[in-house]
Symmetry: D2
Subunit: 305 residues, 4 copies
């Protein structure tokens, strides 16, 4: 668990020399974008991630919560999401799935985003003349609350997709990363879906193209760091700085001991996680709404919000 | 709408001389139980209710919220629920469906009950040895939050039942009645399921044995009276008392005018609806838990709650 | 109780021919403003209101919740509030008091407004250089939560004003009116403070210039109609329309009977009170923020919100 | 900050050989009680704590959340609280102050406890005959919500105590400790009040006998560990185990670097903090209610709760 991360870019930092992975980076004023593609099964196994594309948006200055950066971050997110959705019709049936538990603060990103999505499905169905242009049919569900009460999240989502047959799923979840500094500053998008054991709440069955038989795009924001990671990182750093590398085995045992005794089940979060998760939910929801409704964003906002 | 009620016993009071309806009444110290059976299609149409059994528990003294009556009310509810579930195996798969919107106070009964149900499904699946006796597999969902965001409640429930194939559904909903005095004092059970247009939140497609292909028991508690009902009742009463019956047509027009102008979309609730709904959720949830787990109620409570 | 209203304009409608009351009316496109002054003790007694100015903003079209009207309503509220605050220094110490109980929906206007006020008191105290212009020192409290737990709202507010010595109090509360149609469409301002027994939550000791020794401006929005009012109005209307006026005594007895038996403690609210109160809180908070910060509103918004 | 703790017993572990401190320990089946007295100003300065008594209840088995231990923990808490309150009349005026912010999970202990206290003040004032025996007059306030909006917590509490003149204050707050394992298992009581900079939310002016002119008993439960503490503890442990003590200065610099770069403002909490804080609030509230009402606890519970 000590080495675990939900971010492909961090998994790659831990395993830098793997074949079958391509990476490109783009830098803007306050945001840098990293696009990683995992193309071979072997690379996927080594990184502990599924085949597919992983895009990371990093904006360290977000830590000061400046309103203008909120705006450009949601703009970039919209761009990258549109890119991952290329080929999807502008009248597609889309279901947003907000994973996680509304009542557990760091796990509540998904439900918070889900409730801010502009839902057009009912309007298209019952008042089709309300839109004078082609527009996606968007629905939004937050099964986490339910999943915790005896029915697997996967069963609920699969039951729903079998009935209403959407063209694509966009799933939002809180992630675990290796660095506390990423908590308010990073967003990851991926067309590889969401795996069991990832996210803060940990689902049991994965949501992806194989299990749901439709494309699944995952959007995640790191909200916790497992405390065990910090202990381990501190120990690695000391090994580096003190030249104790001969004693590596001993240090590993030390780390294991501290983690087992003190850090089991503990997570690290910022003291102001409550306002951070509110801000990040706003950014992610706006990015998705912009990607889905494009030039009609303002119009739909007026009609629906 | 002025004559609308979700309670079979009130529908019958408004139409006392209908054939094809049987009724029996039982009186206990503080609780009286009325059991109505609608046996003919014609009676069903006249009453605006589906064929089936409707049981009403009335406890006027509940208005003072005495703890001992809470206890005996949940006990009676458990008895009546068990009776409606006769024939259901003691290892049945049960799904509790809490209808309504958690954020709209008088519509929040369903979700509040759903979250207090002892959910055994996961435990039976993953730690079957935890129970040394036959026990029902119980799951609990609150789709209302979801249903309001573009996917019909019916589609979600039908999708789920197609996947996990429960033997029976128990659906809980807030009801509208004709008398404000029923709000904290009445519970209705029925094997006829829940109809579109009933309840406070109003679903679009009914949940019943026909639509879901499994038995559906509905449990409801009146939480609002439509304000239009009050106006109409006041007018009827005046007609009675003043002997104005010759002018009936005029009074009807008067009522229609007041309702359209002033009462449209208004509901009547007690000032302390927030604590009432909390109490009633407790009573209903306890009654269901007792009915489902019988002699093992205490055991399951210790293990799950 | 049947004739009770928190609105001066309704009290006046019920008692049209009273001396010592002046009234002026101004009509704008979607908003009409009524300004009533109660100048004589006798008029005050007859109307059941304290001496002072009462301003009512009415915007019937608000019922459709159009965004542009939200904006102009908060603008008008700001104008009227500034007028009532004339003479207050632009560096005054202001305390906003949000009355009511956050957990009882129709009583939650005060706390909801209080949490949206731009609070500058701490900033002025600890980082005075943050503002390059004279600005009011604003604090915001919501004592209702507290008041309900054994300490009178008045004691808490009086204790606080004795310590921090504000120049003026602005108190916000949910009101009871006589017409359901006012619930989403009317705002009342007054320099007469708030009386015991008024509002939805009913305080025990009044908040006004006499009891707090500083000016108190009250801002209220009707959120409920007592159900007894409806019964009584229906009966009056029938008396008018049927020419039953000879029987007035009989009708009064009838009304009293219905009210006692059926309507005691009941209130009438719109089915969507939850979203209405959210909207009205936004309008009132924005109006207050605009009135307090004037031309620096945008600036303070960027800094504080 | 790395060495900071709100617990006197931890401060003492870090400074074991200080004069002017006495300590006694008592062990029960699942709970051990440590009573520390700080008697000299010098010891107080060295430990960073005020003069007074500090009682710690430790129950490591609480981590498994067994119901019977909840019961005996609240029983022990009641005993220790009564001991600290010896000399207080059984008709005393008591105010419970629940510090912290209801909306920030680890900081919400105070408000959650405050709302579960049996408030008798209003009943004693308005229906004195309701109690046939001498009983304390108890009120309960949660100023944190307010304090965050421009008025110091101290100003609100001081304003209130000046008005209603209680005999004693009992203040509840979330604490920071050095060990994650204490989060669900430790309660501290003290007659030294609450200091600025302590607790999770950090007040600016202390609440104690000096500042409020009445006795103040503080009850706290560790809810977070500052992440910097973990880094530092890991480093100390490595120094011990690897015999790197010659390099102490270097290790200190390392720790400072990690803390500044990665851990600033981060806290460590259990993943299930939401249910833990609910449980601990229940234990603390029950302990206080038992201490205040003694043999009349059940009676008051029936009347008030």
């Amino acid at each position: 668990m000590g080495l675990y991360t939900d971010l492909a870019c961090e998994a790659r930092e831990l395993n830098p020399n793997i074949e079958g992975v391509s990476e490109e980076k783009e830098d803007y004023e306050d945001i840098s974008i990293t696009r990683i593609r995992i193309d071979s099964e072997q690379a996927a196994n080594q990184l502990g991630k599924r085949l597919g594309s992983y895009v990371t948006l990093d904006a360290p200055r977000l830590i000061d919560r400046p309103l203008d950066l909120f705006e450009s971050m949601s703009e970039r997110l919209a761009d990258e999401l549109r890119r991952l959705m290329s080929g999807v019709s502008d009248e597609a049936n889309v279901v947003i799935v907000g994973l996680g538990n509304r009542d557990v603060t760091p796990d509540s990103l998904g439900p918070r985003v889900a409730e801010r999505i502009y839902v057009t499905r009912h309007v298209k169905q019952y008042i089709p003349e309300a839109f004078e242009y082609p527009i996606m049919s968007v629905a939004s569900v937050a099964p986490g609350v339910l999943g915790s009460t005896g029915v697997e999240t996967y069963e609920l989502i699969k039951g729903m997709t079998d009935r209403i047959k959407p063209d694509i799923i966009i799933a939002i979840d809180s992630l675990a990363s290796r660095r506390a500094s990423r908590i308010s500053t990073t967003i990851q998008l991926s067309d590889a879906g969401i795996d069991p054991g990832s996210g803060v709440g940990n689902i049991r069955v994965g949501l992806n193209r194989d299990s749901l038989e439709i494309p699944v795009i995952a959007i995640g924001v790191p909200m916790v760091v497992y405390a065990s990671t910090i202990t381990q990182d501190t120990i690695s750093m000391i090994a580096d700085e003190t030249g104790l590398h001969g004693d590596e085995e001993k240090l590993k045992q030390l780390a294991a001991k501290v983690i087992t005794e003190h850090m089991d089940g503990m997570v690290v979060t910022p003291k102001d996680i409550d306002s951070i998760i509110e801000d990040m939910s706003g950014i992610v929801a706006k990015g998705i709404n912009k990607a889905l409704f494009g030039e009609h964003f303002e119009d739909v906002h007026m009609l629906i919000a």
